[in-house]
Symmetry: C2
Subunit: 431 residues, 2 copies
């Protein structure tokens, strides 16, 4: 790479603006570390007139971002719009095809089109870097590709969505309802004000798990559906009951190889209060990797926000300025495996279940019968009567059993006339 | 770098042996990831006949390790002997001078001669990598150089010595004495059987803190003395008392910039039970970094042993195989700063103090007078009489004050005729 390197930034929201200022303030440091002089020569954003905390020469502004990707003077492009398709995809495609290195924070794009785009990067002999797409400031992708290179990773567990973790932590601390805490999260900027669904339903965490999975197991990104539950149905009573039972509720993303097959999933979990993962609170993110020969490695840090994200973007920039061309997923695309999906039916775990039932004789019998019928044994059972409303709550912690047996249990229970609503079921995860 | 890369391994103890096998088993993986075919063509160890868990062709064995460093067919040399000077230094010097890349796990060597050796590597345009020297399997050096590159790091706190952390955790769990637990640690291979001093007195942790410091603050390695206390004087009564007061005792390595000056230190600390660092138990290592813009980052993992160490050595190997020549400390040697030392006298913290005193009237008065005289105010005071032996224990938690006032307090107290032995003093660290 030549000594003077020119940069284009597309997208000047919170992240893009912070990055712009970060690059300007670190130019000298970057020159010392890499020997390269960098210049931001072109930028693009929706609105040139929007009030920003920095000024830029209007000559640098380019209304059509695709033009930047074709500008022969630009060497590296930051894509910071964040769509899974549309203009984001077009920008990255065109940039790579025009032999520009690309840095993006876009987990939606990478988890959907990462295989195709990394192949495009490989063909055009340029870098495609996306450290900021997973875990914010935690350099987790680089750690898997470089720091733990050649380790055989068997399992990755992560708290990957700060919005969900904040909501669950706050519910636990304040005993307030999901909807109240969500409103506060929106006010504080921890949840999207208009449509927080993609955070709350697990989709965001699943995108990140798929990227982690691809890197950890040297495989292509999974396209098929898999277990994805969000936190929208977690009731404050579940949080309180979990607390009583010495658990916390966390939204975990998990990917592991079981008997040579891949099991990727995102769902709320009960985790023992004393475990490491239970103590990651608020908007923090954390990732636990099991590898051989390294053993268990843990990385924790701020998962979102302009500061941590621009830290990750800058590490990508330095990687490009310092190094040779690298494979976006650590190995050549034609060596990346397809791993068959593990059949969830055969996964064995224990469940936390909470039932809201009519307070009538025979209720407990009818429920325990359903358990017996499906060969699921009960570890703890707690009954809380609510005499005033003529109902009761039954909480059950089960022993381990196959998911298929639980499915059949849930089917049986759905016909139970004593049940006032669909039971809550949360998997118990041993860290 | 050419496609076929030849490796020499010097030192075939636990680490060298594991690395040898690891390299053989990962050759294909390495070729996929880096495009390089690697071969171990030369090895050296004290004793060719020692029983090993693998066999090698005697032709590869070289009695004099310096010969390997001069072998024109060797491209990369692993130095795994581990001395701070002597043959280890000669091997690394000769290898670099002969334009071989060097990988070492030797923290004693790097913390003592790292500046000189990195300059030698830079001059000869080869790599000198030492990820395994700090934090075992935790890729902490690479994280600072790459993952958090361009962050301004202000403070690093670490549990960097597994032996000490194991002993302190075990004392807490079993209520056994330091010497009993040390014996167990030696049996289990967690402490050196013959001379565990360099672990216990803080020297090992200090070597690592100095390397972390150099990388975090882009500075030369500190040569001057600094605060270094070990855990040899920690009594089981201190552990118990700390527990009562909701603290744990940990040996921490800390480096930070205070008003533009450098404060490096290793000493036991009382840390609040609920903090992250208090919950790193057993032989685990952990590092907490405060940086801008990333915020707080935490890395945790196994700190020693052949598995984690060979994971780190392999990451160094891949870094060499994949990349260009890198600066061993992230920036050119002539840009690395000298930072003046912070004067410890002006450091402000609070202390845990435990006194063993005669059970006589006036004792408490004479002690509290000494505190008043030095303007140190007391936050908690607990008196435990031991009537049978006509003595008492007084435990004091102080408010924050300057180290120089504490020094003067200790001087005053040393003359106190009621004191049966030198008081125990442990700093309280707010995470």
């Amino acid at each position: 790479m030549k000594k003077n390197v020119n940069i284009g930034i597309i997208g000047l929201g919170q992240i893009g603006s912070r990055l712009y200022k970060e690059i300007l303030s670190k130019r000298k440091d970057i020159e010392i570390k890499t020997g390269k002089k960098i210049n931001i020569i072109s930028i693009s954003a929706k609105n040139i007139r929007k009030k920003r905390s920095f000024s830029f020469s209007k000559k640098k502004f380019c209304k059509n971002p695709i033009e930047i990707t074709k500008n022969s003077n630009v060497d590296i492009i930051f894509e910071l719009i964040g769509l899974s398709d549309g203009i984001s995809k077009k920008i990255v495609e065109s940039a790579l095809a025009n032999k520009k290195h690309v840095v993006t924070a876009n987990k939606a794009l990478i988890s959907k089109h990462g295989d195709y785009l990394s192949l495009l990067a490989e063909k055009n002999k340029v870098n495609l870097e996306f450290e900021a797409a997973v875990g914010g400031g935690i350099p987790i992708l680089r750690t898997i590709k470089d720091g733990l290179a050649t380790n055989k990773i068997s399992k990755v567990i992560g708290i990957l969505n700060g919005t969900c973790n904040y909501i669950l932590s706050e519910m636990e601390n304040t005993n307030e309802s999901f909807s109240n805490v969500l409103k506060r999260a929106q006010k504080l900027g921890y949840a999207e004000p208009s449509n927080p669904k993609l955070d709350l339903n697990g989709y965001d965490a699943l995108s990140k798990i798929r990227i982690l999975s691809a890197l950890s197991f040297n495989k292509r990104i999974t396209k098929t559906n898999c277990l994805m539950n969000g936190i929208e149905d977690i009731d404050i009573d579940d949080i309180k009951m979990a607390k009583k039972l010495n658990f916390k509720i966390k939204l975990l993303g998990i990917t592991e190889i079981i008997n040579g097959k891949l099991f990727e999933r995102v769902h709320p979990c009960l985790v023992k209060k004393k475990t490491y993962i239970a103590n990651i609170n608020g908007v923090m993110n954390a990732v636990i990797l099991n590898g051989t020969p390294v053993g268990k490695s843990v990385l924790q840090g701020e998962g979102a926000g302009p500061g941590p994200t621009s830290s990750a973007l800058m590490s990508d920039l330095l990687s490009i300025l310092r190094g040779n061309i690298k494979y976006p997923f650590g190995i050549p695309n034609n060596k990346r495996k397809q791993i068959k999906s593990y059949d969830q039916k055969f996964y064995s775990n224990s469940f936390y279940l909470r039932f809201q039932v009519k307070d009538k004789p025979g209720v407990l019998l009818s429920i325990t019968k359903a358990f017996a019928k499906n060969n699921i044994s009960i570890k703890n059972l707690i009954q809380d009567p609510d005499k005033k409303n003529k109902k009761a709550f039954i909480t059950i912690i089960t022993h381990q059993n196959l998911e298929k047996n639980f499915n059949s249990l849930f089917k049986n229970l759905s016909k139970n006339k004593f049940l006032l609503k669909k039971p809550t079921s949360i998997r118990i995860e041993k860290e």
